[in-house]
Symmetry: C2
Subunit: 190 residues, 2 copies
């Protein structure tokens, strides 16, 4: 997706040849015009399947999934990490290992918001090692819903998450795949 | 806002005559069609002022602020609670007391995303004791930006947050104000 790649090249900060900071438009400040183009692109890429619900996880997926769900005209649900009085006890729950936090944490979705046989599209900001996506897939499996695919805005192609999911036959659409970062320069996959 | 009040009466679960659970449409699963009406309503109510940026806080404000910001055509920034590699060290930071978590926690915004003399609109899901809003106002003050107002979807009128803010001359627009809950029945303010 050209407009996204241009934005990444213009605005992303690279740290330690590995961390791609996109806090100016994706996961702290949010460029809603760009997200609308992201939503339009996902709706094109998944136009061959029926989607009943969009699933994401706290925190950085929420703004993206909210805007994207407008293009599918379906509700969005975000798996909660934080304990909340707004979450009932009747949940699907799974553990995710966080490399940045160096610990496991739980994510949960109320059982009434993921239904058997529904078609689910997972949306997230990044695909790196794929642990968050695997947690979300586990929630979809627990609900006996159908995973129709995963859409991420930026895939770090030099980490194993995307390749692992594709090798399992899971449909993964990444709008920008970073193949490598050399001397703080981003090289996209064609 | 009639459509919102109807939705609350239809879908909210009341617990202990105090907690209004709206996880089916506002802060766990998200009804994006309703949020678009919310965005339209806020844009009408604040149509007399120029807004440069929308500010909210993790977690439940994000989806709402993202959709609402489309109607103002401005970027949205969410103050982060969770530690993130995506947040630089150069931040405005403040502490908020959480009644539900029974502890203080910090919220932070990158200094480059709140600028001096900018016009800021704060958006959030709930107004109860007002602690989250006060934290966000503190961030706006630290940045020497202009607080143009606060828009919340649901105000618990029986808690002190809204009254306190209005008595300080802060413009607060609440789309539904719950005056009381009796025998699990919601009474709205006219």
């Amino acid at each position: 997706m050209k407009v996204l790649k241009t934005k990444i090249l213009e605005c992303a900060n690279i740290r330690e040849n590995q961390i791609v900071k996109v806090d100016s438009f994706l996961n702290h400040q949010v460029d809603v015009n760009l997200l609308n183009k992201v939503g339009e692109e996902f709706s094109k890429r998944f136009s061959d399947v029926r989607i009943d619900r969009i699933l994401t996880a706290e925190v950085s997926g929420i703004a993206i999934a909210a805007i994207v769900s407008q293009y599918f005209n379906v509700p969005m649900v975000f798996a909660r990490k934080t304990e909340s009085v707004n979450l009932s006890e009747d949940v699907y729950s799974t553990e995710i290992y966080s490399y940045t936090g160096k610990r496991n944490y739980k994510i949960k979705v109320g059982k009434n918001f993921l239904n058997k046989n529904e078609n689910i599209l997972i949306i997230d900001d990044f695909m790196a090692n794929g642990k968050a996506a695997e947690g979300l897939i586990d929630l979809v499996d627990q609900a006996e819903a159908n995973l129709m695919g995963i859409g991420v805005v930026i895939e770090k192609g030099f980490q194993e998450g995307g390749a692992n999911l594709r090798s399992r036959g899971i449909r993964l659409e990444s709008l920008a795949i970073i193949d490598s970062i050399d001397n703080n320069e981003i090289i996209f996959r064609d």
